[in-house]
């Protein structure tokens, strides 16, 4: 099992007054979600976890090893990231080359690369457009492509920065299943999301960031049982909770419509 540990980490950008301050954060679960308002510092945290940016103070340990001591190649094999804006990580001439390029950073055998590229493109359903220029893809296709580039490398830890953006319903199901499967295969999967319904249905561990600080760590039901906290950190409860509280005056915690139905259906 992987453990990510942050100790006394702080980071600030030279040109804004935002500051990320994390005294203690330990993530051991296989499937973790990070949530919080726009500008809370979620993507900044992810950039620190990739080692692309270094914290100004404190350290980040991956399985008790300091992230800063990993070689670039080891870092790529340990942590992969799907960026919030997929365009920022795509620059090759074709979809296929994009995935091959990403894998070539950690793998040199051309036959292995070719096989793996074909496999991951099939997994995300992009085989038919493998010769297209990534620049010409739609937003959801770009997102699926950037997921494929990370799947090809198959790092120990997957960071997904808002994986569901602009995906349609079938692709959302696909990506959710993929993440659950990775977690079952003992990868650590950490996702940032604004989708409280998906969060409530999919994750058992969440961390809430607000103004650069961790304000909650625990299970979704525990968070949504604290309406003042949810409001204060700029979130909302899952829709099912607003619906039954608005219409039926029932303010208990429900994570999904199925959850409500299971507790109320008369047999």
């Amino acid at each position: 099992m992987t453990a990510i540990q942050l100790n006394d980490v702080s980071y600030h950008y030279p040109t804004s007054d935002f500051k990320l301050t994390i005294d203690q954060l330990t993530m051991t679960a296989n499937l973790v979600a990070i949530v919080g308002q726009n500008g809370a510092g979620k993507s900044t945290l992810f950039k620190l976890l990739t080692g692309l940016m270094q914290p100004q103070t404190g350290n980040i340990l991956i399985n008790h090893h300091d992230l800063a001591d990993l070689s670039p190649a080891d870092r790529l094999k340990t942590i992969g990231i799907v960026f919030q804006d997929p365009s920022s990580q795509l620059f090759n001439a074709t979809v296929e080359k994009e995935v091959a390029w990403s894998l070539s950073q950690t793998e040199s055998d051309a036959a292995v690369i070719a096989e793996k590229v074909a496999q991951v493109l099939a997994t995300v359903g992009l085989t038919d457009i493998k010769d297209k220029n990534p620049f010409d893809l739609s937003m959801p296709e770009k997102k699926l492509l950037s997921i494929a580039t990370v799947l090809a490398v198959d790092p120990q830890i997957y960071l997904f920065d808002e994986p569901m953006i602009s995906l349609d319903w079938p692709s959302q199901q696909l990506v959710t299943r993929l993440m659950q499967q990775l977690a079952r295969e003992k990868h650590q999967v950490i996702a940032i999301t604004h989708d409280m319904d998906w969060l409530a249905a999919t994750f058992s561990k969440i961390a809430v960031l607000s103004d650069g600080e961790i304000k909650f760590e625990g299970a979704p039901a525990a968070l949504f049982g604290q309406p003042e906290l949810v409001h204060a950190v700029g979130l909302l409860p899952p829709r099912i909770m607003s619906i039954v509280s608005d219409v039926l005056g029932d303010s208990r915690v429900y994570l999904t419509p199925a959850d409500y139905v299971a507790k109320h259906q008369t047999h």
């Binding site: 804004s16 726009n38 500008g39 365009s87 808002e162 602009s166 319904d197 700029g234 979130l235 419509p257």
Partner: protein, 280 residues
Amino acid sequence: MANNQQISINDLSFTYRHDSNAVLHHISATAPLNSIIGIIGNHHAGKTTLCRILAGIIPNMMAGDLSGDVQLGPLSPTQNWPALNQQTGFVLQDPASQLSGLADTVADEIAFDLLNHGVANTEIQHRVTEVARQLQLTGQLQRSPNSLSGGQLQRLAIATAIVTKPAILILDDPTSEMDPQGRTEFFNWLTIIEKTTILIVSNEIDDLCEIADRLWLLVDGELVNQGTPLEVINQLKPDWQIGTPQVYQLARSMNWSLGTDLFPVNVNQLRGCLHDRHST
């Protein structure tokens, strides 16, 4: 028929240049001006292309083979594009691609179109302050647009589209990166603004069913249904693979129906439905 108070799309087809397959096939649809139209459908449905045509980006800036016609009230994106463009606010699916690239600060970016419209300086100041407050960008006004978080960038894209108070808003997945409170506030605002025609593409089917007057449902480039959210959601076919709102999922499971095989799709309908059940 031509009608100055309607949006009408008549037998519209489109194929991108260098592509062999049509993206939109013989689409015909109508809706009254000043209504909210939700455009839904999966990947390859043609939603973004339809937005580009409605906004006149196709064929004025992107080429292809376009047939049929489109009328937004008295104006048409093919025949009166400059006039239409003046009255249209557009939010692209990828907010980063929407920046002018010419502004050093968020404030200048928001003011950009106002300057082009020849709005007076004091009025510009006033409107920029107002729209920044609405979209919670006040703290970012003096920052570079390039240093914003994803959600802040999307808020900026919306600010630039609405600051000119356009009569037509074309919004392609405008809240995908917004936090839950921000998204809800924005959808509520859409119901409050008056004298504005809103065409909005979104995967937020729950929110669309709360606010839209009509839904247009695209499947693989064809308009397979149009009607009220109640009609369109209740008439979905499983192989279209469209997600349904939670109110509808709940009502179906609990068998809270509005009539034979008709289930509520938003909170008001659900409230009405349960009220009627109690009073009978």
